[in-house]
């Protein structure tokens, strides 16, 4: 009997690794093999030449980097931004303030002018005509694009994921059922049901792109396993939090579908971010050196996690706004306040994550001149970070690379993390079979080592691979994003996740100073989980593959205007009447 159990355990370990690798391979393959064909929204004609319009936001000019390149002497390198709206209307903006952009004889200006179907656009001396596509033509073009999930079946991947999670549950029940086996089982069951619900709901609305969700669910499942080992008493709470996270992911995703709505509320999000940080500074007490927890009505949460989402929401911008210097300065100021506030709170790790994210966003949005300003302001912020380093953070820096020299003092956590991680070997001790969870903050700050110990090095590396895959995916889809807002926010979201992962994993393994940030999805903690899932909505927002994402409307959907008017498939774009 005893022998049988041992063999079962070994078998389950091998299966877990095999499934883990399979899931990774399938997700990577699915992302690599997916067709990333551009969408086509219209055509710009100038003289006998013409160019397809493949984004909602397009830079027009002579430079190679322009989306609509018009190589004529009378046109500036960067001249104008042409933008399509969700309701099918078009506008052209003279964002660079050079003048020379006219619509029907009126200068477009920074605010832009609407383009009617018969409008004549003049850039310099060149006359352009915008040729919109008919709904039929657009649908036809769209139908030629590859459907997401066509080449690698997401349902099969999800089956593997389900098997993976059932095996995790099996190990928990076999090794250390504890006194809460039912709650652990419930946690996994709810997760698996949620996955399939998500899958069928997406299929129902004609979406087949499921890689992002699969990877997020894979990590969430490992998070459930960590909670089951480290804090089985919180299993029920964790399950509820997963449901809540998922609901918020859906809600944010649906909200992001309408870009104008998002644009109007960016300021609100910025205010929310600053407000949360202010509340944090003035009301919380320091816990473990950082005042990063806020208790409201018995629930304690980390406002900085939600601020991440708000920061993304407010920090990304549409193309015509990106090139306005005032907006850029506003963004820098906003970022500086956020990072500064976090430094004040003493949440050094999160401040660093924000700073890295700031660098990515600012690099994405900055033009040639602004890069200098950004670099300088970035350096200034880094300087501020350094100045605000507190004694306990300085100690962590001093310890960096020397944890074994003080294994019973300051290096206690990292040496235990390394010892436990190594103790698991490649195959691990099995879910619930580790001892690292007895060490303080193992289930948050040292979660990589917990997984390494219980599931082995291979699965722990897969866990990192999952986020890396997600980052490659986001970068790839960002190229085809409809709006700069979606592309930037998707890239920024993965950069936050990557930065967190790097600080968490390498901090606990003594490759970086120990800063105590969470591993996305896996670390225990509700605010973190919610923030991570909400960031997934941004990544989904950039996925314009056919049927790729519920956040992205199909061309047919984005054609429609007000619910009362405009039957589907109007040949001409709308007039300006109903837009506001």
């Amino acid at each position: 009997m005893e022998l049988g159990m041992d063999q079962l355990l070994t078998l389950s370990k091998l299966l877990l690794i095999a499934l883990s690798l399979l899931i990774m391979i399938r997700c990577v393959r699915s992302m690599l093999s997916s067709g990333y064909e551009s969408e086509t929204w219209g055509r710009v004609r100038f003289g006998r030449d013409g160019t397809d319009v493949t984004h909602w936001e397009n830079l027009i000019g002579r430079a190679r980097s322009c989306d609509i390149r018009i190589d004529r002497e009378d046109i500036a390198r960067l001249q104008a931004v042409l933008r399509r709206f969700d309701d099918g209307s078009w506008r052209i903006y003279d964002v660079f303030g050079r003048g020379g952009v006219w619509v029907d004889g009126s200068p477009a200006g920074e605010k832009g002018l609407e383009i009617e179907p018969d409008s004549v656009i003049r850039l310099g001396d060149t006359r352009l005509r915008l040729q919109d596509l008919s709904a039929e033509a657009r649908d036809k073009l769209d139908a030629q694009r590859t459907f997401a999930g066509k080449r690698v079946s997401p349902a099969l991947t999800l089956c593997e994921l389900t098997a993976f999670q059932l095996l995790l549950l099996f190990q928990h029940l076999l090794i250390a059922p504890g006194d809460k086996p039912a709650q652990i089982a419930l946690g996994f069951a709810v997760l698996i049901l949620l996955e399939w619900f998500c899958y069928y709901a997406m299929r129902l609305i004609g979406r087949g792109g499921f890689e992002v969700e699969t990877l997020a669910f894979y990590l969430t499942g490992l998070g459930v396993s960590v909670t089951a080992t480290a804090a089985p008493q919180d299993m029920f709470k964790h399950t509820v939090l997963i449901l809540l996270s998922f609901v918020l992911f859906l809600l944010l995703g649906l909200w992001l579908r309408d870009l104008r709505r998002v644009e109007k509320t960016r300021a609100v999000a910025a205010a929310l971010a600053l407000g949360l940080l202010a509340l944090n500074i003035f009301t919380s007490d320091a816990v473990n050196g950082a005042k990063s927890w806020l208790s409201v009505a018995g629930f304690s949460f980390q406002p900085s996690e939600l601020v991440k989402v708000a920061y993304l929401y407010a920090g990304a911008a549409t193309l015509e706004k990106l090139f306005r210097r005032g907006n850029l300065y506003g963004f820098i100021l906003f970022s500086a306040v956020c990072v500064g506030a976090l430094a004040l709170i003493g949440d050094f790790g999160t401040a660093l994550v924000f700073f890295l994210c700031f660098l990515v966003i600012s690099f994405l949005r900055s033009g040639s001149l602004a890069t200098v300003v950004l670099a300088v302001s970035g350096a200034a912020m880094a300087g501020f970070l350094a100045v605000s380093v507190k004694p306990y953070i300085a100690r962590r820096f001093a310890l960096w690379g020397h944890v074994w020299e003080d294994a019973y003092g300051a290096g206690y956590q990292q040496t235990r993390a390394l010892g436990a991680a190594a103790g698991g070997g490649l195959f691990g001790k099995g879910a619930g079979g580790g001892w690292l969870t007895e060490v303080f903050a193992a289930d948050t700050d040292m979660v990589f080592a917990v997984i390494c110990e219980e599931q082995g090095l291979i699965i722990a590396l897969c866990m990192m691979l999952a986020l890396l895959t997600l980052s490659f995916f986001a970068v790839r889809t960002a190229r085809r994003g409809r709006s700069a807002y979606y592309s930037i926010s998707a890239c920024a979201a993965v950069s936050i996740l990557l930065a967190q992962m790097a600080l968490n994993v390498f901090g606990s393994l003594d490759l970086l100073p120990f800063t105590g940030v969470t591993f996305p999805f896996v670390s225990r903690g509700g605010s973190s989980l919610i923030a991570c899932w909400m960031m997934m909505a941004f990544i989904k927002g950039a996925d314009t593959r056919r049927g790729g994402s519920f956040v992205v409307k199909t061309p047919a959907q984005s054609q429609r205007t007000a619910p009362d008017s405009a039957p589907k498939g109007r040949a001409a774009p709308r007039s300006k009447g109903g837009r506001r």
């Binding site: 019973y408 103790g423 070997g425």
Partner: protein
């Protein structure tokens, strides 16, 4: 859009940095995982272990939920530097040194559960207890006793010591240091045993030479004081009198090269090991620095430093006609490895000289009642501040009681007055324990 999305590769830079970090970690993991894992794997693997003394007294025992030491508090303290603790606080404990052997590890499956592992040490905890109290809990010092025929170390005591079950608040300064292995001291006159060995081998007419002592010896501008006025003596009497004036001359006669070669050959400058516990190397001038320094170094002053353990090895080799039976801590049926440390004729001559010294100078009947065949040498290493380390080292040239020993009392004064009584009590304990 192109302009923006082209820059998305910046995210990939972050990914690349992470992949780089992962690679570094994996390489380190392959290299060091075993060390990491075995450091803490006790609870992990669930395996237990026991550390016993040669009579089966439990010095330490542990399993997944328990980290215990000897029940007897005096034994815990007396044997602390042998046992070590679970927290690596002393660098030279058996618990630290043998931890890895108490576990199993493979890269594939990590630490694996194993039957409880039992280590039986050569240590006799009762002799250690006697040695600890003989050195004196309120003094600082070290004492070791070994069987030079078998190489078994029966006692290794360092004072002040630690009761491992207590916290660190009450721990005396430097108590975690094992003075037998991890500290080196000026040897003073016990070093004359080394100078004598070099002279025996490299001064051809040594025994026909006479060395005159007028209470001090002037070499260059340096005065080397002696403890008395010994007149003209041969090398045997010079050792028995522990005559500084004579040995200063002998050192100069022998020459730096010969002395250095012998110090090195006898292992005083090596990083020695006692069954995996590392001892620090001692020191001797690495270059000739003039005859006055050579003379000082020949009487165990100058920059000379030795560890008690290195000294014990040396006298144990002399006792065994120059062959060192490797000192060890783990009891085993296998005979220990033997190496020739000292030329046989040299060893025999030294043994005769030490026997002569003990019988003529140390009044064995009064100072070592009931102990026969004592061969020994005292040391009183001046520290330059009026105090001196008291040394006493030697062996019993007795196949019934083949014990070699070394005793050091820091700032204890004269070797014969302070250290010899400690050795007496330890030898009695060893004989009683047979």
């Amino acid at each position: 859009m192109k302009k923006i999305t082209r820059r998305a590769f910046s995210v990939l830079l972050l990914s690349l940095a992470i992949i780089f970090g992962m690679t570094v970690f994996v390489l380190r993991y392959v290299d060091e995982a075993q060390t990491w894992a075995l450091r803490f794997s006790r609870a992990n693997a669930g395996a237990g272990g026991e550390l016993l003394d040669r009579n089966g007294v439990v010095l330490a025992s542990f399993d997944a939920s328990r980290s215990a030491f000897a029940e007897d508090g005096e034994i815990r303290v007396a044997c602390y530097h042998v046992t070590g603790d679970y927290w690596d606080r002393t660098g030279t404990g058996a618990l630290s040194a043998y931890w890895g052997d108490m576990q199993e590890y493979s890269l594939l499956s990590g630490t694996t559960k194993k039957e409880p592992k039992r280590f039986t040490l050569t240590i006799d905890s009762e002799i250690c207890r006697t040695a600890y109290f003989a050195v004196g809990y309120n003094r600082r010092g070290a004492a070791m006793l070994m069987n030079y025929k078998t190489g078994e170390v029966l006692a290794m005591v360092s004072v002040p010591s630690v009761d491992p079950i207590n916290g660190e608040s009450a721990v005396a300064d430097t108590a975690f240091i094992n003075r037998c292995l991890s500290a080196s001291f000026p040897p003073g006159s016990i070093f004359k045993l080394v100078t004598a060995a070099a002279a025996i081998e490299d001064v051809p007419d040594l025994f026909s030479r006479g060395y005159t002592c007028e209470g001090q010896y002037t070499i260059g501008t340096v005065d080397i004081h002696c403890t008395g006025v010994h007149g003209t003596q041969n090398v045997r009497d010079a050792l028995a009198h522990s005559c500084n004036a004579a040995f200063a001359q002998i050192a100069v006669d022998t020459g730096y090269n010969s002395l250095y070669r012998h110090v090195k050959a006898y292992g005083f400058l090596d990083t020695l090991e006692l069954s995996g516990l590392r001892a620090i190397p001692g020191s001797y001038r690495s270059e000739y620095a003039g005859n006055p320094e050579l003379a000082w170094s020949g009487i165990g002053q100058s920059t000379d430093l030795v560890t008690p353990f290195a000294m014990l090895r040396y006298v144990a080799a002399i006792a065994n006609d120059g062959v060192l039976v490797t000192p060890h801590l783990i009891l085993s049926d296998e005979p220990a490895e033997q190496v020739r440390l000292v030329e046989e004729s040299t060893a025999r001559e030294l043994k005769r000289m030490m026997s002569y010294t003990a019988s003529t100078q140390y009044n064995p009947a009064a100072n070592f009642p009931g102990i026969s065949y004592l061969c020994a040498k005292t040391g009183t290493a001046e520290l330059g501040d009026g105090t001196s380390h008291a040394w006493f080292t030697g062996f019993l040239d007795d196949s019934e009681h083949p014990y070699a020993f070394v005793v050091l009392i820091e700032r204890g004064g004269g070797g014969l007055q302070t250290a010899a009584p400690v050795a007496n009590r330890i030898l009695h304990a060893a004989i009683a324990a047979e």
